[in-house]
Amino acid sequence: MANCCLENSESKALLDKLDEVIDKYKDTAGPLIPILHEAQGIYGYLPFEVQLHISERLGIPLADVYGVVTFYTGFNTKPKGKYVINVCLGTACYVKGSENILDRFKTTLGIDIGDCTEDQIFSLEACRCIGSCGLAPAVMINDDVYGNVSPDDVESILANYQL
């Protein structure tokens, strides 16, 4: 899917959107990171072809674009699942045992950090503090935040997303 994402007609619309974004930021000082943010919003991740296109349109060497994409953990070069599970490993959550929650997600879903389930429904991430320290330990699935989570809650939390 990634290889043809800039070619078929269906993807033409996405490309047009990307070009709109590039035009919007063209004259902004330091346009690359805002463009990458919006491009990731359009494609869900930043496939090689998208990086190449941005590089050509901005006249920034591809190596630099790639360098920026891989520097920041917020940018992904691999597609993600429909639901992204972020287990908070910030200090407040860590001292309250969030690693055990992460372990339980790993065993329950059978995937490791950074991976996506085969059906593309869930991907698992560990993140640094989502600022919900009052609810520690916390887990965020897309925009939903679950607080005071214990490993035993993992299955029932996942059930909310499994139809």
Binding site: G30, V68, F75, G90, S132, C133
Partner: protein, 626 residues
């Protein structure tokens, strides 16, 4: 664009709005006929369902046709996050905690209509008592002094008029109408305000450097890249009182001669980003940002830039490199940003809390500000108190308050009567403060002397069940992960330290490892390029200083006293005290526990993954570890 008519052209118009809004906001500050129902709509409270509560209350108000007399307001953080969602009914000042959507009708019928507050939803004190007026009576609030957080939880962050009603943009008007830029810089200098982002550099001095540069283009930046795990002060200010930051940035722009500001904010804070953008839009509509502010020749605008998940971007030169669109790698200093910063121009960078403090200093005066705090640290500091603590939340206290006061006096101490072991401040750059130093007044100098640092304000409390070696490893792992890779001491040095530490927590450490850690720590401290690298060894240095015995237990006895380090911990069930209740068996995720009413409960050591659930769940403390 259609709202050009809202533009405020002069100070008189600003004063008019202030007077009108002061009248409207009266119930929240003094008496008033109208009822104002304030609901925390951010952070923890939002996550636990405050939006549904808002909708339910909104429905009841609309159905009753009392929209004129009853105002419902979604506010920023009220602080007592542990008991959220929080609601305060004014002018009674009654605070409700743990509010659920199904409680709303009872609050409506009993309190709003009937005048009888709902007791069961009052805030809980540390001793279990219920208090009706938590803001005035609860120990969590009574010892606080709010400067940076003054408006958080009291106004609607999305309403610029409410902000103006609590003296918002008054300081900006004073500054640009009545003061020279040099006077503003001198005032900030005289206030002795120090940066709240970590190192505590004097803000006025920073401004003076930038002001003295002759370049025509200068920048004002705000560091809202709150990367320190376990800290959410800046988030709360941005979500609860964004205009204070904008106002202060404009004041800074006037003082140093800049017309452009940038706020660099974490992409992980979507609500803060949305709130900021909305606030900027309103400020432009009202002519408080943009060209010719309040009819003067001063112009200033602000743009939001999103981070993309790199801790190092909290370092000032890295942050600017990132705004320029590059990998966020720090640069050697000098040249300092005040001379050559963003896009090569003179730039000042201050943190969110520092900015939020500035308008108050101008409104209340330097003498007032200097009367708060300690000799070297004036004013207040916001702390995000988390970890093993009863009242998790956000507190703002005068500098010089002791850790004892914060942890036990205000935040209710440790749950389940466990023993306090240490508090960690300053995040991955800081260190921990053990129980013997609980009485030290907190200020910049004292924390440095204890081997920690103020940092941005994360304060994580740890009890007897926290392993300090494991904690040091946690922070070091963070640094290894987040090291930008530019300089060798940080990139390779922290990795080597982490490997040594892992060896120790795996029970394979030797006594010499402690010396190796000390040598590496010293070398990294002396040779890393940026502040984050130089402070990366701090968690190790400080845990070694206060908890060497724990390191030695791991190395010599191959045991983890707290039962955290999995490879050297074994859990077992004490037959003598076991009551055969079966709770441990039920909660074991890998079914490693066997036993029933008649036979002894036993943990199969082969199958056990050492998650510690049985230990935590056992009501009779019959699960032990060594």
């Amino acid at each position: 664009m259609a709202d050009c008519n809202r533009k405020i052209d002069n100070v008189e118009q600003l004063n008019e709005i202030r007077e009108r809004m002061k009248e409207k906001l009266k119930p929240r500050f003094e008496e008033g006929a109208a009822i104002h129902i304030l609901l925390c709509g951010v952070a923890g409270c939002l996550s636990t369902g405050s939006l549904k509560i808002y909708e339910e209350m909104d429905r009841l108000i609309k159905e009753s046709g009392k929209e004129k007399d009853i105002q419902l307001v979604s506010t920023g953080c009220m602080g007592l996050c542990a008991q959220g969602p929080l609601m305060v009914v004014y002018p009674d000042r009654v605070m409700y905690t743990h509010v659920k959507p199904e409680d709303v009708e009872e609050i409506w019928n009993s309190h709003i209509l009937g005048g009888k507050p709902v007791e069961r939803l009052f805030a809980t004190e540390s001793d279990g008592r219920k208090v009706a007026h938590a803001l005035d009576e609860h120990s969590f609030y009574t010892k606080q002094l709010k400067i940076a957080l003054k408006n958080c939880g009291v106004i609607n962050p999305l309403s610029i008029e409410e902000f103006i009603g609590v003296d918002g943009y008054k300081a900006l008007a004073t500054v640009i109408k009545e003061m020279d830029p040099e006077e503003v810089v001198d005032l900030i200098k005289a206030s002795n305000l120090r940066g709240r982002g970590g190192a505590g550099f004097p803000t006025g001095t920073k401004w003076a450097f930038a002001a003295s540069q002759l370049e025509r283009k200068k920048f004002v930046c705000c560091n809202a890249d709150e990367g320190d795990p376990g800290a959410f002060m800046d988030r709360s200010v941005l979500e609860g009182d964004p205009h204070s930051v904008l106002e202060a940035m404009a004041i800074a722009g006037y003082a140093i001669g800049s017309d452009q500001g940038y706020i660099y904010v974490r992409a992980e804070y979507p609500v803060a980003v949305k709130t900021l953008n909305e606030a900027i839009k309103q400020a432009r509509e009202y002519g408080l940002l943009g060209k010719k502010i309040l009819g003067t020749d001063f112009s200033f605008d602000v743009e939001v830039r999103l981070g993309a998940g790199a801790f190092v971007c909290g370092e000032e030169t890295a942050l600017m490199t990132s705004i320029e669109g590059n990998r966020g790698e720090p640069k050697p200093r000098p040249p300092f940003p005040a001379v050559k910063g963003l896009f090569g121009q003179p730039t000042i960078l201050n943190n969110v809390e520092t900015y939020a403090t500035i308008p108050r200093i101008i409104n209340m005066g330097v003498a007032w500000f200097n009367s708060i705090g300690t000799e070297g640290s004036k004013g207040t500091k916001v702390f995000a108190v988390g970890g093993k603590i009863r009242h998790t939340g956000l507190v703002e206290v005068p500098m010089g308050t002791t850790l004892q006061d914060i942890v036990f006096g205000m935040c209710g101490g440790i749950p389940k009567d466990k023993a306090f072991k240490a508090a960690q401040t300053g995040g991955p750059s800081g260190g921990c403060i053990p129980a013997i130093h609980l009485d030290t007044p907190i200020d910049y100098e004292n924390l440095i002397a204890l081997g920690s640092m103020m940092g941005s304000g994360g304060l994580i409390v740890m009890d007897e069940d926290t392993c300090m070696v494991d904690l040091a490893g946690f922070f070091l792992h963070f640094t290894v992960d987040e090291s930008c890779g530019k300089c060798t001491p940080c990139r390779i040095g922290t990795k080597r330290m982490y490997e040594i530490l892992s060896k120790i927590t795996d029970g394979k450490g030797e006594v010499e490892d402690v010396d190796r850690l000390n040598v590496l720590a010293r070398n990294i401290k002396n040779s890393a390029l940026c502040g984050l690298g130089q402070t990366a060894p701090n968690p190790i240095i400080s845990t070694l200083r206060y908890f060497e015995d724990e390191y030695m237990a791991h190395i010599l006895e191959k045991t983890c006293p707290a039962g955290v380090c999995k490879s050297i911990t074994k859990f077992f069930i004490d037959k003598e005290t076991c009551k055969h209740c079966g709770i441990c068996k039920k909660h074991c995720p890998v079914a490693a526990i066997s036993g029933d009413r008649k036979t002894d409960f036993v943990i199969d050591q082969e199958a056990c993954i050492k998650c510690g659930e049985c230990f935590k769940r056992c009501p009779f403390n019959s699960v032990l570890h060594h």
